[in-house]
Every structure is written in C-alpha cells, then in structure tokens.
C-alpha cells in the first residue's frame, strides 16, 4: 500500500467513526461547539500519532502476553501529558472538555490502530496510518461540531452566523442540538449519507433471512 493511500484511506473510505463505528462516545460528548470538537480532535491526533510511533519502535521486543497492557500504559501516559499541556496553555478549553481528554486513553480508535497496524509495521508507515485515522476522526468531529454549534447557537467558533431571535434576528436556536442525542441523529445521518454514496461500505447482513426453495408438490 502506498504511503498516500495509507494516509487518505482512513479519511473517507475506511473512516474509523463512520465505517468502523469507533470512538462514538467522545463524538457525542465534545461536539457541542466547533472549538471544543477541534481541540479534542487535535489532542486525539497527537496522541494516536505519538502512540503509533512509540509502539511501532517497540514492536519487535514487545512480549505478546503483555502487549495490550503495555500499549494502554503508553497511550494513557501520552494522554496525561496532553491533558497537562492543555491545562497549562488552554485552561479555559480544558475546563470545557473536562474528563473527555483523559478518556482518549479508552478511545477505541487509538488502541485499534496501535494493535492492528502499528504492531506490525515500521514506524513511518505506522505514524502515517495513525495520522490518517486521526484526521478521519477529526473530520467527523469537525462536521458534527459545526452542525451542532451552527444550529444550536447560530454561531461558528463563537462568531455569529445566524442571528438568533434573542439578539433580534430570525433564527430560533434548536436546543436539541446542544444535547447528546442530537449527535447520535447527526452521526446516523452522516453514516447513511456516506453509505448511500458509497454502497461498498454497507455491511452484509449476517443473520438475514434467506429464501429456501419450496419443496415441490
């Protein structure tokens, strides 16, 4: 696989959120505003790229009996470092993201990529793959964050786009957009749209009914 397709595949064709349905929890929790979604996406991308690089370097000497716990330790340490950096330099944003930055450690996207790709590939391809997955996750978060902020508050990055009724305009904010269920609806709609456009992403039904040939008279 060429480095270019390693990078771009996870963005649309193999998107971790819309195809593999991983990392849904944070996609629901932090996408009320675009700024929060973008910060979370950047934090996850940094963590996943560093984790993939480190784990790929260690891959030949990582005993397979303890490989999962070692991966979690590395990912969790990186998450703490990123969280501390956010608390030091983006204090207000880290207060808004609260626990969800720490929960990157349990995000399936990260462990999924280190376990399935970084453990079997050289550092450079592993980091490229991780970057692609990070960007794929970021794309979904940014789409959800923009839609929710735009329709829930009428703003984008705190800049007024649709003037709300409160401010004397015409737009009635949809409060549902600020609640977690709306992210579920939007995400479902997004998955549906992508799979209608690219039918090869539709999963084959595993337990569907099949027509059996009726016995003759």
């Amino acid at each position: 696989m060429s480095p270019w397709s390693t990078l771009t595949d996870p963005i649309l064709r193999q998107n971790p959120v819309t195809l593999q349905i991983l990392g849904i929890c944070s996609a629901l929790a932090v996408t009320t505003t675009l700024a929060a979604a973008a910060t979370m996406a950047a934090a996850l991308t940094v963590v996943i790229v560093c984790a993939a690089g480190i784990i790929s370097l260690l891959r030949n000497h990582l005993p397979s009996s303890i490989r999962l716990i070692m991966q979690i330790i590395i990912v969790a340490s990186l998450v703490i470092v990123v969280d501390q950096l956010l608390q030091a330099y983006f204090y207000e944003m880290s207060q808004r993201l609260s626990v969800f930055v720490s929960l990157i450690a349990t995000n399936c996207v990260v462990l999924g990529r280190t376990e399935s790709f970084a453990l079997h590939n050289r550092p450079l391809p592993a980091m490229v793959d991780a970057l692609g997955n990070g960007l794929g996750y970021s794309l979904v978060l940014v789409i959800l964050g923009s839609l929710r902020e735009l329709f829930g508050r009428g703003t984008l990055l705190d800049v007024e786009v649709l003037r709300t009724v409160e401010q004397g305009g015409w737009f009635e904010p949809l409060n549902l957009m600020l609640l977690a269920p709306s992210a579920f609806f939007l995400l479902g709609g997004l998955v549906w749209a992508i799979r209608s456009w690219r039918p090869e992403q539709v999963e084959t039904s595993e337990f569907g009914l099949t027509r059996v040939k009726e016995p003759g008279p």
Binding site: A29, N60, P63, I73, I74, A76, A88, Y89
Partner: protein, 267 residues
C-alpha cells in the same frame, strides 16, 4: 566481567525470545518507568503555569460575583472610600487574625495547630477538619460599617471537592450572590451549579430565621420558602452537598460567630 558490561547485557536481553519471563518482566518494568518519568515530568514542569491559571480563574470568578450583585458595581465606581479589603479571620475567636496576612496564610495553614478536627455530628459538609484561619473579603462603607462580606466555603460534592464564595449583605442575613470557584461534578448534571441560572437564585435569600438557626438550603424540588433555592434535576447528591456546605459554613462551626460579631458592629 564481560557479563556485567551494560551494553552486553542489553544485547543479551534483546536477543532473548519475546516470550521469555525475564524479558517480559524487564520490558514491562522499563516501559512503565519511562512512562512514569514522562508523566511526572509533565506534571511537575507545568504545575506553576496551571496554578497561575487557576489563581487567575478564581480572580475572574470573584470579580464576576461582584458584578452580579445588583447595584454593587455602581457603588464601587461612585465612591473611592468604599473598597474591597482582604482580611484573614480567626474562626475560633470570631475576630481578625492579627499576626497572619493573606500572604502568610498558606504557611500558617501548613501548621496542623491551625486546623480543628470535626466530629462526625458536626461535619455535615464532609470536610474532616476545618481551617481556623480563613481569608474573607469585606466591603466597608463610608462610615466604616461593613456593607458586604464575601466568604469562601467548601464541601464535598458527588465528584470531589466543591469550592464556592458566598456574598452576604449588610444585615448579615441576606445573601447577595454565590459563585462556584471549582468543582468536579458531572458535566450536564451537577456541573450546573456553576451556571448563572442556578447560582443567581441565591440572591435575596435569607440565611437564618429569628431564632438564629441557619435555614438556607436547597429544596427537594422547587423552592417554597425564602430560605430555599430550587434543586437541580438529576443531581440530588450535588444539591444536598451544596445545602450542607452552606449550612455548615454559615452555622456555629463556620462563620456564624463572625457574622454575629459583624452584626453587633464589633468588626
């Protein structure tokens, strides 16, 4: 001696099969140690900046509390004689602590003799022990009377410690406002104590009734008396913690004697 050469040892370790017990233990130990150093390094190196951020945040929240109190910003802007002063008070004697200034307060609180252990009956706010010295803010009017007092309160909520500031008007019985400084409550539920819609309910509420019993509380549902504010739906533990915290700190074990002293004009 070749076996003690670290490079040789390292090579021999790496050449061991991955499944060997020695290699498993050594690799686990090494990775954990490196991660521990990384985490500790980041925490220690960034702590001063984070502490500064938190102090700044507390300052902005205190200022926000002052601007929320109706009419106060005009009073402050109108007269130069009225200014907010910071005083360290001794809760045991209900008077200003003479030898402790706000700068030396952290050092004084490091000494365990400045803390009072609370018995389980007294300890409704779940604090364990109470500091005898507290830093309060007083606003004095032109005739040197205390017009407003801002008291720091703390307690244990559902998700960890809650710290807040309560402002009380000149009669020492009417709440002027409440600001939450820090908390660890559940986002979307208990964390709503920080939202202005809930906090501003406290303005105008009465602290104690005629007999001096602290009645200020969070209702079980919707507030019905002049001592209560509405509870937060889905955050019963947080609401209860806020109520207990206020009852403790405004009561006899907290600022009660101090408020009485100010009311008598002894302060």
């Amino acid at each position: 001696m070749a076996e003690l050469n670290p490079i040789q040892l390292w090579r021999r370790l790496l050449s061991l099969p991955n499944e060997s017990r020695t290699k498993t233990i050594v690799i686990a130990f090494l990775i954990s140690s490196v991660c521990a150093v990384m985490v500790t390094g980041a925490t220690v190196a960034l702590r001063p900046i984070q502490a500064q951020n938190r102090a700044l945040e507390q300052q902005t929240r205190l200022e926000a509390l002052l601007t929320e109190i109706p009419g106060l910003s005009q009073i402050l802007a109108a007269s130069d004689e009225m200014a907010l002063s910071t005083v360290v008070v001794d809760l045991r004697r209900a008077e200003a602590a003479l030898d402790v200034t706000p700068e030396t307060l952290p050092a004084a609180l490091a000494n365990s003799s400045n803390w009072t252990e609370l018995s389980p009956q007294e300890d409704i706010a779940n604090l364990g022990s109470r500091a005898n010295l507290k830093q309060v803010y007083l606003l004095r009017g032109p005739d040197d009377r205390v017009e407003l007092v801002i008291l720091p309160v703390s307690g244990t909520g559902y998700g960890g410690p809650i710290e807040a500031m309560i402002a009380i008007e000149a009669d020492m019985n009417t709440v002027a406002g409440l600001a939450v400084m820090s908390h660890g409550e559940t986002p979307g539920l208990g964390a709503r104590i920080d939202e202005p819609a809930w906090r501003t309910q406290f303005a105008g509420k009465q602290v104690a009734d005629e007999t001096g019993t602290v009645r200020l509380s969070v209702a079980q549902g919707t507030a019905t008396t002049e001592y209560e504010v509405d509870a937060i739906t889905g955050a019963t533990r947080t609401s209860t913690a806020m109520a207990r915290m206020l009852q403790f700190w405004l009561g006899p074990q907290g600022y009660g004697p101090l408020l009485d002293a100010i009311r008598r004009g002894e302060f």
